[in-house]
Amino acid sequence: MKLERTVVIPTDDPDLARELFQNLVYKEAILLVVVLGKTDKAKRAVECADQCADAVIAGFKRKVVWIREPDILSNELASLKPGRQNLADTELDRVVAFSVSLADSVMDIVTMDDTIDFVRMEMAFLKAGEK
């Protein structure tokens, strides 16, 4: 798997993981797609999202965050602001990925029921670009 625009959150250092995640979500003006877990769907989502992340619209870059073990960031995930979607409305086990807007709020949630492909992940990024 060749990833160019993906930050893989470390699983062995919770503090580092937390810091990286918070920097990406709250400090950088980028459009994020956060992928959760190590399932095949998650891997497919990371691959597709990484490729979609090469687009820059109106100067705003895209990045992918891969949290392979979501439990270590459960508090951070729970405290994310709801946007057009609310992470609290969906069981975390069923969430494959979600997108975060410039305003740090959750805009789109990709679930286990969705078809994971380039089109779906592109749509997640585009949703993150909306206000």
Binding site: C48, Q51, A55, V56, I57, A58, F118, V119, R120, K131
Partner: protein, 611 residues
């Protein structure tokens, strides 16, 4: 105050009207307003059970409730409504903005706020575009291949091209689908005269028929001198006949009604005989061991026989009523209609009975009693045919006589207008639901010759689209309306007939009969009603002048008398007083009774008053 009262009354009327319409289940696709020649208009209140009256020379403004038609089309042809094109339009708009969207890829040299606005706008439109792509399986697969092949921003150009191709294909498919799923609205009009003849009429904007011959029913009518002369001559001959023969002159009328009565008796007898054949009695013996296999068939015959017997009982009652006087048959339209309906019912019952009997004979093939029964059953079938022929003949005669005598339209002649098949001709245009004209104006004067009592029939329907000329379109009727035309308001009529004169003031002349028959001519003023059919078609009171030529001095040369007359019942009853122009103080009373037998009139009873 008066104006407020009028408005209040109108409002109350409208509410009552709405309640009535709602109660009677009347939908109103067509709103009709009658516009008189004076310009005054009258909204026509339409109900299922009445025939609104319109003036014979007026115009009808017909408005079509297009929203209702569209709603109805949605309900009826729901599964075939055109597919929604909104999505295609939205995607087309995004495709049109491709250059602008593609220009936003890369760095943004504006303020952060402006760049965020651009990001929001572009993201929203691209999301809609990807949604369009994602919902179409083949398209989604091709889009994913583009992602694997191209990097940003080139891949978006290819996605645009892919979407454009799909929009073009879907638009063409939509156009075809809309073409195939068209629903048309049609409105047709017909004129039906009192003989029941039906002809289509031109409704402007809605068909390509030509206007009928322009005809305006004259408000004040008169007979031409030739018509007047010939009718007076005929009346003179009748008067001479009546003066010579008295009541015997009415024998033709009496005998005709007797013939009819006897025909009814013949039919009753025929049916009575028909229902007592030995075969039927044999079939009814359920305890017999001959018929275990045809039990159901026998039961069916018994039910049908009982129905006919019930109807026969009613027909017997009718004949018993005729015992009080054969003229009842022709003087009571209700009785005639009742009789014809009964006879029609009886006749309708014979066919299924015959079929069941045939069927039963078939079942008897293997029975040992077949030969014994078959002859009786064949007799029964032959008798049934005879009865049917008699019934047909009786219906025709009675209906014809009723029509000639009264102008009544009996079920056989008249049918039920609300059930008649009013077929649209090819001249009646088909309108797409968005193209239906909002209204039209039908000038009744352009519908050709017509008389009081003639009807205008309107029918509108929805039709689906057919692609082949061999295929009949599905047609769903939305509404049909009947309007009956009369001369509304003041108008005059002139008629020629017989009157029976009784002198009241001359001492010097002695009449041969109590009443002297004389030809006469009435010129009367009438007022047609806009609200009462029974008034227009029956009471129809007239007031005016009577010109008679009785021979009161018995010198075989008729003299001229002028008087005032009141007529009613379509001029069949006349009563008046006149002055004999012989000289002196010669006043007379007169009356006229036109029996429905047509041309002959017979004396009645009247009280004369000396002056």
């Amino acid at each position: 105050m008066r104006r407020i009262s009028c408005q209040l009354l109108k409002s109350v009327g409208a509410v009552v009207c709405c309640l009535f319409l709602a109660d009677s289940g009347v939908t109103q696709v067509l709103s009709i307003t009658e516009v008189e020649r004076s310009g005054e208009d009258h909204p026509i209140i339409l109900t299922q059970f009445s025939r609104p009256i319109v003036d014979i020379n007026s115009s009808l403004v017909i408005q079509i409730d297009r929203d209702y038609v569209r709603r109805k089309a949605g309900e009826i042809f729901d599964s075939r409504q055109p597919i929604q094109s909104e999505e295609l339009e939205a995607v087309t708009q995004i495709l049109a903005a491709q250059a602008e969207i593609m220009g936003s890829f890369g760095p943004c040299l504006r303020s952060r706020e402006e760049c965020e606005t651009i990001l929001n706008s572009v993201s929203a439109r691209l999301h809609a575009l990807f949604e369009f792509v994602s919902e179409r399986k083949g398209l989604r697969q091709r889009a994913n291949e583009i992602f694997q092949t191209y990097r940003s921003p080139d891949r978006y150009k290819h996605i645009f091209a892919l979407a454009a191709e799909e929009v073009e294909r879907a638009t063409a498919a939509l156009r075809t689908a809309v073409e195939e799923q068209r629903v048309y609205f049609r409105l047709g009009g017909w004129m039906r005269n009192r003989s029941g003849d039906l002809r289509p009429i031109h409704i402007p904007n809605f068909d390509s028929y030509s206007d009928g011959e322009f005809f305006e029913a004259p408000r004040f009518t008169s007979l031409t001198s030739e018509e007047l002369r010939s009718q007076l001559e005929a009346a003179r001959e009748q008067a001479d006949l009546v003066n010579q023969s008295g009541i015997k002159a009415a024998e033709g009328f009496i005998s005709r009604s007797r013939v009819l009565e006897n025909r009814v008796r013949d039919v009753v007898l025929c049916l009575s005989n028909l229902l007592r054949p030995e075969a039927l009695r044999a079939l009814s013996k359920k305890d017999s061991d001959i018929l275990p296999e045809i039990e159901d068939s026998v039961a069916s015959i018994q039910v049908q026989v009982q129905q006919i017997l019930d109807g026969l009982g009613e027909l017997r009652d009718l004949v018993n009523q005729l015992d009080y006087g054969a003229d009842l048959l022709v003087t009571s339209g209700d009785l005639i209609i009742q009789g014809i309906n009964l006879i029609e019912t009886l006749k309708a019952g014979l066919d299924p009975l015959k079929q069941t009997t045939h069927f039963t004979i078939g079942l008897l093939e293997s029975q040992k009693f077949k030969a014994e029964l078959e002859d009786d059953l064949e007799d029964f079938l032959n008798e049934a045919d005879t009865c049917k022929t008699d019934l047909d003949s009786l219906i025709n005669d009675t209906a014809t006589w009723g029509l000639e005598a009264y102008g009544y339209y009996f079920p056989r002649v008249y049918g039920d207008a609300m059930k008649m098949a009013l077929e649209f001709g090819e001249e009646v245009k088909r309108f797409l639901l968005d193209d239906i004209p909002e209204s039209t104006e039908l000038d009744l004067r352009n519908t050709g010759a017509r008389q009081n009592g003639d009807e205008i029939l309107l029918r509108c329907a929805l039709e689906d689209h057919v692609t082949s000329s061999d295929e009949a379109p599905e047609s769903v009727e939305l509404e049909r309306r009947r309007l009956v035309m009369y001369q509304v308001g003041w108008h005059s009529t002139m008629s020629v007939g017989l009157v029976f004169v009784d002198q009241v003031t001359s001492d010097s002349i002695r009449l041969k009969n109590t009443f002297q028959a004389a030809p006469s001519c009435n010129l009367v003023l009438k007022h047609g009603s806009r609200s009462s059919l029974i008034y227009n078609s029956f009471w129809n009171v007239g007031l005016g002048l009577n010109f008679a030529s009785p021979d009161l001095n018995l010198d075989t040369t008729p003299e001229l008398g002028i008087g005032f007359v009141v007529t009613t019942a379509k001029d069949n009853l006349q009563l008046g007083v006149g002055r004999h122009l012989l000289g002196g103080n010669a006043w007379y009373w007169f009356f006229g009774v036109r029996f429905p037998a047509g041309t002959i009139s017979v004396p009645g009873v009247i009280t004369s008053d000396e002056r």
